[in-house]
Amino acid sequence: MRSAVWVRAQVEAALWPGVPSPFARREARVPEMVPTGLAAVDALTGGLPRSSLTEISGPPSSGRTTLELALLASLTAKGEACALIDAEGALDPASALAAGVALERLLWVRCAGLEQALRAADLLLGAGGLGAVVLDLADIPARRARRVPLSYWFRFRRAVENTPTVLMLIDEEACAQSAASLVLRLELEDIHWSAAGIRNSPFESRKSVPHAQLLEGLRWRAQVVRNRNARPELLRMND
């Protein structure tokens, strides 16, 4: 039986000189974390990592856009330029401004579908120098998003690997798999109505007059599906 040393020598010889030391230990780099400004999310994840792909998935009304705009607000407030690649052009600039996004530092790319969005992401990641690139596929049906070859996500991750860019992917169901360093799953828990307080059941009977109520906010839950820098936890938070 061949010894491990012999096998190692063979592998090293085969890979020489392209890979000088294939078995050398490489120190894992700890990415710089960017706080989102949402205290609960920052407490859960420590912020969102630069030089990595972060995937935020969840159904409609689960708080994905709130988290997206929180990140953009956090970075643009520091003077960094950010890009939002909007697959269906769904951004509401008034909401973005209310969330604290410095609109003059936001490059908004209004695409007409998934293909355009992927091409735009390719181009912008190649340009470099952006604080964050958010690829918003929230309005793309999950079945279509899952058909995007995995090579795309790995290429995108590779493009930001040695840059200080936060790459965020927003979708309905997670599709980047192991290419993402951090995967958060969001779910809607409750909706705050001013007249009824927090309602837990959608089947509760209505007692108040509609125009006497105000929609005050959403309560959603974030779950860490994958985090290469921390162990999974569950969080409940208020928006």
Partner: protein
């Protein structure tokens, strides 16, 4: 040396060769543009050696195999003249625009700055090569001696103090631009050189030829003294080219654009300028600039202003640059996105001069994309997503829903001042304070719904059917959603713009809808050959929408989703 002169021999030929560098060193004859008859107008020394002569017909000169025949290009001559002036301006602020092919520089007082005459000569020659022109250079103690030496001697000529008469003596009298009558008179007298003319007695010459004769003799002696007429060259950068044949494809057009941009950038460099805005004008076959059908207008200037010429286009850059390769790429993206509707006959590019960008590095500035790379990426993005689909959103000063416009994503993070300004702006928006003089956001900020919640908009709004029972919303149906209304808040009446044609009048509702949808989920532990198996299950979810009823026609729409 007090004065220098740059002279472009065979100027029409040089203007054409400047646009087609591959003709450099070859025999070239330039013919008149308008037939008939197409006669040789100008030719270079190599063409003369090959047997071509001025006045030959195009057919005759075409029989000479080694001679390249080109049509005269007034646009190229204008560009070559402008390049000559830029060359002069880059060495001395005082120069005289003596003729289209001649410029005289006053170098007095510049020795400390520029060095010796030999050094200046080397610099001028090198810069001339960059500009694609082959100039004769002459240095002399007075402007006219320099001009005559440049016209008479090829290459670089240095004439010292009191050497004028001796050095110019061998030149033929034709260099003096004599009238035909004067030329015949001197020939009859046997006067063929400057030296012979200078040796004539002044009084007798004056009796026979008048003041003109005395002036010519003074010039021939190299002793003319006059003040230079300084030229005020405006900062105008334009390069144009008349094409021999219509160009229908982008690739050959790219070569032409590349040459023009190269020349333009060298000229900008010579004047210490860059550009932030370029205009490209194309004369198309069959268009209003069609020179084949209207030969008279070929000498007219091609208008680069988009208001005057529909075939002109403008390129604006985030920062000033003079990188010709970058500019060429940007123009190619533009041309690929909006190709010319017909073959191109003439091209003109105008650059608006701007001071070059000088960026001082700062440790505390936020990171920002490289402006040139960003400009390139934005141009490519335009090609992918279309015009007007990229940029920074800017809210409009109105209460109309979804009122914004896209502005260009200009220079970001280049100066500390801008960074501070941006920080202040973002801080203001965060705390609900609008920027001074920008927009009134108070209505949006005071609105509890928009300040607390984030909306995703459907563009255009989704047409919907809403079931109303006893004044309450019961059910919502649209193309992509269908569900029971669990909770509703409204109506919130908004209206406006009744004084314009874009009136809106609607009642808005926030509705909580219980939606039953199919969801694909992975079947754990089982794998097929094609991949992971999945199955669809029905899931009940709560969605939160903003809907509205248009009070003008009573139709319902879903405007957005709270997310």
């Amino acid at each position: 040396m007090k004065f220098a002169c740059l002279y472009l021999a065979d100027f029409p030929v040089q203007a054409v060769v400047r646009g087609e560098p591959e003709l450099h060193g070859r025999a070239v004859a330039v013919v008149e543009p308008e037939p008939p008859p197409c006669r040789v107008f100008a030719l270079n020394e190599a063409a003369r050696t090959a047997g071509a002569e001025t006045g030959m017909s195009r057919v005759e000169v075409a029989l000479l195999q080694e001679v390249e025949v080109r049509r005269r290009s007034p646009a190229a001559e204008v560009s070559a003249h402008a390049a000559l002036l830029d060359l002069a301006r880059s060495f001395s602020p005082r120069f005289e625009d003596a003729a289209a092919d001649t410029v005289v520089l006053d170098l007095r007082g510049l020795k400390t700055l520029l060095g010796s005459a030999a050094k200046v000569a080397d610099g001028l020659a090198a810069r001339a090569r960059e500009l694609g022109i082959d100039a004769n250079l002459a240095f002399a103690p007075n402007p006219d001696a320099a001009r005559l030496a440049a016209r008479g001697f090829a290459g670089i000529t240095l004439i010292g103090e009191d050497e004028e008469a001796d050095r110019l003596g061998g030149l033929p009298v034709e260099v003096l631009d004599l009238s035909l009558e004067m030329q015949e008179t001197l020939a009859r007298w046997g006067i063929h050189t400057f030296r012979a003319l200078a040796a004539l007695p002044a009084a007798e010459l004056s009796e026979r030829l008048g003041q003109e004769g005395v002036r010519l003799q003074t010039l021939a002696r190299g002793g003319a003294l006059r003040a230079l007429v300084p030229a005020e060259e405006p900062l105008h950068f334009e390069e144009a080219m008349d094409l021999e044949y219509p160009v229908a494809e982008i690739e050959p057009l790219a070569f032409i654009l590349g040459r023009l941009l190269n020349q333009l950038c060298v000229r900008l460099t010579a004047r210490g300028r860059a550009t932030q805005e370029l205009r490209l004008a194309l004369a198309l076959e069959g268009g209003h600039e069609d020179r084949i059908r209207n030969p008279e207008i070929r000498s007219q200037k091609l208008e680069t202003n988009p208001k005057s010429n529909p075939e002109s286009r403008t390129l604006r850059l985030p920062v000033p640059t003079r990188d010709s390769k970058l500019l060429l790429k940007l123009w190619l993206f533009d041309l690929e996105a909006r190709p010319p509707s017909a073959p191109v006959l003439k091209v003109a590019i105008t650059a608006e001069p701007a001071r070059p960008r000088v960026a001082q590095g700062d440790l505390f500035l936020p990171r920002a994309p490289d402006p040139q790379k960003l400009g390139l990426s934005l141009a490519r993005l335009k090609g992918v997503v279309g015009e007007g689909k990229t940029g920074s959103p800017e809210l409009l000063d109105t209460n109309r829903p979804d009122a914004f416009r896209m502005q260009s994503f200009a220079e970001v993070g280049n100066t500390a001042f801008e960074s501070r300004k941006s920080k202040a702006a973002s801080r203001n928006s965060k705390f609900g304070r609008p920027e001074t003089g920008s927009h009134d956001f108070r209505s949006a900020i005071c609105d509890l719904r928009t300040s607390k919640l984030t909306l995703r908009l459907f563009r255009p709004p989704l047409a919907a059917r809403v079931e109303v029972r006893d004044g309450r919303l019961v059910r919502l149906e649209s193309r992509h959603l269908r569900g029971r209304v669990v909770w509703a808040s409204g109506p919130w009446h908004t209206s406006g713009d009744w004084w314009t044609g874009r009136q809106w009048d609607c009642e808005e509702w926030d509705v909580e809808v219980s939606v039953v949808s199919g969801q694909w989920s992975v079947v754990s532990g089982s794998r097929s050959i094609l991949g992971i198996e999945s199955r669809k299950s029905r899931v009940k979810r709560i969605h939160l929408y903003r809907i509205y009823r248009d009070l003008r026609d009573g139709l319902w729409f879903v405007s957005g989703l709270y997310d």
